[in-house]
């Protein structure tokens, strides 16, 4: 066994130690990007960067349920919307601070996700996709028409910006740094989840649920848990969005947004966490860069998605290579000493 591991290491050449690699990523996210953006100048660029980070959370959370667990969800924006509205209502009505609304928004979205998942999770393949589509639209209709509670199509204005223990600078740089920190934490949590035995169980369910059932996995429970966790992170992203944008309305959480998030995951590669990150960054930054040529945002998203399915069906960074990358370079799961690195058992 040991020789096999060392042989694989030799093939891959000299590897950078995982700790150094993680530190480099952190330096990039927290120092290089903000410095470069301040250099070029512009609160607008910080807004784009913050939006990109929020969509990175959304794409990777959808990737957990659609890529890893294999449940095609077409209503992810609905749960994003629940998180955003929960955080907005908690902070405008009850005056709670960001540190309280962030987890509560996640819990609200996760709880609705589990409630929705309980009856629908026994559905297979396309039936489940249809059910999530219906639920996403139901959430939209409720947000739109329950005017007493959500202000309906007018949306909610004047949501307070992010504050930490009463300190509220409200600058784009501060917003960016907080969102970056939450994104880094969420990505870390999701990657640990996907690269544990638990993640393997989810992949087994995706490949063949009857077989996984026969192997003693509780298929329905695994699916419900994965869906709940995914909705939790979508809710977190919603809270970040409502506090950084300051204004939300139901239109921002409709089917088109679900498709947008799905396109990110598909372009990046279903089941691959770095792929979801790359896909989200690509599909947010590219249309922004093309904005001067007219409003081609959705056309760009549609055509990128179509071309990537046609030419690169596994995505930019397919699941197998992504798993390999994360395991070998980032020390997730099986690299090095087998017995000590494996969690959850």
């Amino acid at each position: 066994m040991a020789s096999a591991v060392s042989a694989r290491k030799n093939v891959s050449g000299p590897t950078i130690p995982p700790a150094v690699l993680k530190a480099m990523l952190a330096i990039f996210l927290f120092i290089i990007v903000p410095v470069a953006l301040s250099w070029i100048g512009g609160g607008y660029l910080f807004q784009v960067a913050t939006t990109t980070l929020i969509f990175i959370i959304l794409a990777s959370s959808l990737n957990l349920v659609t890529g890893t667990a294999g449940l095609l969800s077409l209503g992810h924006a609905g749960f994003y919307g629940i998180g955003a509205y929960a955080a907005a209502l908690l902070s405008t009505r009850l005056g709670l601070s960001f540190l309280a609304t962030l987890p509560l928004a996640g819990v609200a979205a996760g709880a609705v996700g589990v409630l929705v998942a309980l009856p629908t999770m026994r559905l297979v393949s396309i039936y489940f996709a249809v059910a999530t589509l219906g639920i996403g639209e139901m959430i939209y209709v409720i947000l739109l028409n329950w005017t007493g509670f959500t202000h309906g199509p007018m949306g909610i204005r004047g949501i307070p910006p992010i504050d930490l223990l009463g300190w509220q600078p409200g600058t784009p740089l501060f917003d960016y740094l907080v969102v970056a920190a939450v994104t880094a934490l969420s990505l870390w949590a999701m990657s640990r989840l996907m690269h544990s035995y638990y993640g393997n169980a989810l992949r087994a369910v995706r490949e063949d649920d009857q077989c996984a059932d026969a192997m003693g996995l509780n298929v329905v429970r695994l699916k419900i848990e994965a869906f709940g966790v995914s909705c939790f992170f979508a809710g977190i992203a919603g809270a970040l969005f409502c506090h950084t944008a300051g204004f939300i309305s139901p239109d921002q959480f409709r089917f088109a947004e679900s498709i947008n998030i799905l396109a990110m995951v598909v372009v990046g590669g279903l089941g691959s966490l770095p792929g979801a990150v790359i896909g989200a960054a690509l599909l947010i930054i590219l249309p922004e860069a093309l904005r001067s040529f007219g409003d081609f945002r959705m056309i760009a998203i549609g055509s990128i998605m179509f071309l990537s399915i046609l030419l690169q069906p596994k995505g930019l960074l397919g699941e197998a290579s992504a798993l390999d990358l994360l395991r070998r370079q980032f020390g997730q799961g099986w690299s090095g000493n087998f017995a000590t690195r494996v969690g959850w058992r």
Binding site: V124, V130, A131, V141, M298, G302
Partner: protein, 304 residues
Amino acid sequence: MIDIYFVQQIINGLSIGLVYALIAIGFTLIFGVLNVVNFAHGEVYTIGAFAGLMLITWIAPPVLAIVLMVLAAGAFVGIGLERLAFRPFRRFRDEASLKSRAMREATLLSSLAVSITAREVMNLAFGSQMQTIPHAYLLQRPIVFGQLSITVGDLVIFVASALMLASLQFMLFRTRIGLSIRAVSNSPLGARYVGIDTDRAIVATFAIGSMLGAAAGILVGLYDGMITPQMGFAPGIKAFVAMVMGGLSSIPGAVICALILGVSESVATEFLASGWKDLVSYSFLIVTLVFFPQGLFGVGRERA
């Protein structure tokens, strides 16, 4: 008096339901032969309406000619759609990839991508604002039966849908191409073994399904008088719901469920503010999926 109003709502609901039914048949036919959902079907409906508008503004033919030309346009769009979004993913023909989930999901996502692109291109070409159909073409003249008053549009939708449903039945059960469509939807591999040109059957299915969808689009355009590039989304989802309720592969089931949806939406506006009426069909969807996972009229299918 209230009873008359109620009957009126039911008649309105029936004509909405028939429109959903025409769209749902396209979904069902295509799902039957390919085992994938064609997400671009709502856009075919929109294209039908816009093709009708362009014909009216350019040539101004009589209504019957418009419907026939829109049918042709629909067939053309369907064939193009199949070429673009579905044919490239049918390269592999062995049994494993016919049943493979990954292949099916790729096709589903590609139709989704094509539908977004088509909708946005129409948005750019026609503007996202409402377009109005010239008044002379509108089918809104009322016909009065005693206390009951229905519009010409309702009547046209009833007659046109009945004609199209009847010719669909004739085509499916009395012609060679209908036989091959039914064979392919029964078993794609088996149809190939007995020498049926499956590609031709699939193209024919797309042409027929899209003809019905485009016809629904122009009928609604003439009935309501206004069309937008986004108009295909909501009826598309309703038709999709009808198909799922009907059991995914049953055409009579889809038609009956579409009528149920149309009538219940129309009646629901009696009790609810009109914004909530969309909730009715989504609730129907969830309830059906939870309690009748095979649909109301579906037969037990092989687990996919």
